[in-house]
């Protein structure tokens, strides 16, 4: 029998329907892979018992021909999604004993459609980071290494554990979240596909909040088709999230393989940033050529506000985070550290419960929202954000269907290599992805090649609001031309 962990979601779905193997067998193969892959620290909680119970239920439904769209497919779930009765920590000391009594809407949708939970995946603490190194449970490692070099690399972040687990074939697909690039950057670093849908496409209910106007859930998987399958289940309106769109969810899979002939693809000149790796530039041109060969037309466009997206993000996101994280007070749930009085208890609890990066962002957010500074920082950033969105609207109004950019300015870096001296160095990783969150648009990262050290690189496609279908069509076109990439097993 073939190695069941080598299958894509779509292949496993077909095989399960034909009863070539059972959901229990598929789950066991992945549970074994997850156990053998512990060195990667991709999972912060393994849930084998739950996986087996869910797999048996899936087999029963499949036997009756009643399987859902994701019946029997084993997934990793970022530890930012609340899972009822299963510890959910946001990879923070503050929540390391938190067991939700409720299920996030996104995961509830996945279970409704038959998927099963293998375990909770590692992420940067409260999703604040671009390397997974700020996790309270330690860094997740990338299954990729530079050629001839055994030093560990980061899988990217914040959905680093999800990306590492999918790339290393510990799970077939995973759910992540993306506030400034947290799905797309790790997907690019790990050589897999990841999509952040339009703001409002997936419900945020039951997901630990970081920056509410930017946070969106989305899938990570090894193919564009697999991401389309997962997003169809994850997305949909939800009365519990007032910002969740009341729009029907298309069958995204139908867009995979659709013609891209005549599509107009914008190539934004401002993304040619100083110091961009030559290989990234070459990859970008190759991507444009692939789309041309598939019948699309590429057009140079201008997004003049691009350079201001990252600084504006580092005001808006910390401001919202400082407000969202005010709830961790040691009273109702989470860590409590005793103090002399109530105020001291708050201050001791929050000093102990939050890691360095989270404290830093709460401090920045509190400062930019404080009396006397609000207009200069927060209001200015929100005005700049309006202008960033206007840039995109102008291009789409001029007939651009999607925009092609690199996902990241470099390939994955080593654990401990980045951001020690200056946190801003780490922030620069998100320079190409953060604009998309600021404008609420959908963005997909598709693996597109390897650099000279043998590390994967990704291309990003940015779409019109709620036009994920065009991204799946174009993404599949790049995927066909680029092929797929798999790390050599060392773990």
């Amino acid at each position: 029998m073939t190695d069941l962990t080598s299958l894509t979601l779509a292949q496993a779905r077909e095989a399960l329907r034909k009863r070539e193997f059972s959901a229990v067998e598929l789950a066991e193969a992945h549970l074994a892979a997850m156990e053998r892959g512990r060195r990667l620290n991709a999972f912060v909680l393994e849930t084998p018992d739950r996986a087996r119970v869910m797999a048996r239920a899936s087999d029963a439904r499949l036997a009756k021909g009643e399987g859902g769209p994701l019946e029997g497919l084993p997934l990793g779930i970022k530890d930012l999604f609340c899972t009822a009765g299963v510890r959910t920590t946001a990879c923070a000391h503050m929540l390391d004993n938190f067991v939700p009594t409720y299920e996030s809407t996104v995961t509830a949708n996945l279970w409704r459609d038959g998927a099963l939970l293998l375990g909770k995946t590692n992420n940067d603490e409260f999703a604040m980071g671009s390397s997974n190194e700020t996790s309270f449970f330690g860094a997740a490692l990338s299954p990729w290494r530079r050629r001839g070099d055994e030093r560990p690399l980061v899988p990217g972040g914040s959905s680093g554990g999800s990306a590492a687990a999918v790339a290393a074939r510990l799970c077939i697909g995973a759910a992540g979240t993306d506030t400034g690039g947290s799905i797309r950057q790790p997907a690019a670093f790990c050589g897999i596909v990841g999509i952040k849908p339009t703001y409002g496409r997936c419900s945020r209910w039951g997901t630990v909040a970081f920056a509410s106007s930017l946070d969106q859930a989305g899938p990570l998987a090894r193919t564009v088709r697999d991401c389309a399958m997962l997003l169809r289940s994850m997305a949909g309106s939800d009365a519990k999230d007032t910002t969740c769109a009341d729009l029907p969810v298309p069958d995204y899979e139908k867009a995979v393989g659709a013609s891209v002939r005549g599509k107009r693809i914008g190539i934004p000149k401002e993304y040619r940033v100083a110091g961009m790796a030559v290989e990234i530039e070459a990859l970008w041109q190759r991507g444009a050529q692939w789309l041309q060969e598939a019948g699309a037309e590429t057009v140079e466009i201008s997004l003049p506000m691009t350079k201001y997206a990252l600084p504006a993000y580092y005001i808006v996101a910390p401001a919202e985070a400082s407000s969202n994280l005010a709830r961790y007070d040691g009273v109702r749930y989470g860590l409590r550290v005793p103090g002399r009085d109530l105020l001291d208890m708050y201050e001791q609890t929050r000093a102990a419960g939050f890691g360095k990066e989270v404290r830093r962002r709460i401090m920045v957010g509190t400062y930019v929202l404080s009396a006397g500074y609000y207009d200069a920082y927060y209001l200015q950033a929100q005005k700049v954000r309006t202008l960033i969105k206007r840039d995109f609207e102008r291009c789409f109004a001029a007939g651009i269907d999607a925009i092609l950019t690199p996902t990241t300015p470099s390939a994955a870096f080593g654990v401990g290599e980045m951001g020690r001296a200056d946190p801003v160095d780490m922030y620069l990783n998100d320079v190409f992805t953060v604009t998309v969150n600021m404008a609420g648009l959908p963005g997909i990262s598709v693996p597109s090649g390897l650099d000279s050290q043998g590390l994967p690189l990704g291309l990003q496609l940015i779409g019109r609001p709620f036009d994920e279908e065009t991204l799946f069509a174009l993404g599949a076109s790049i995927e066909r031309a680029a092929g797929s990439f798999m790390p050599e097993k060392w773990w």
């Binding site: 580092y314 005001i315 109530l342 201050e347 929050r350 401090m363 600021m438 609001p465």
Partner: protein, 95 residues
């Protein structure tokens, strides 16, 4: 704009995070680095530009004002660090 140690202490207090003196010094440097980075936003002309309030145009959803949830005291209390019956216990706040 740059922040001094006193401002770092004031902001930490507003954020309800206790800091040691070493941490104040380290954070002062880091915050000033981040604030210097975001300083470039000042060069953008935003005359007549509305600040963004909603990234996708949407009307606030309305619902009828009726009880749809509740009577789940045990679920609400389940993760409490300290409780007595159905009360959260905190240090004494009134003399």
């Amino acid at each position: 704009m740059s922040v001094d140690a006193e401002t770092v202490r004031r902001v930490a207090h507003l954020a309800r995070i206790s800091l040691s003196e070493d941490e104040v010094a380290a954070l002062q440097g880091e915050l000033n680095g981040i604030l210097a980075f975001v300083e470039q936003l000042r060069e953008v002309n935003v005359d007549g530009v509305e600040p963004m309030t909603s990234v996708t145009p949407m009307a606030m959803k309305m619902r009828s004002d009726r009880i749809t949830d509740g009577a789940v005291v045990d679920a609400v209390m389940q993760n409490a660090p300290a409780r007595e019956d159905c009360f959260f216990v905190v240090p004494k706040v009134v003399e």
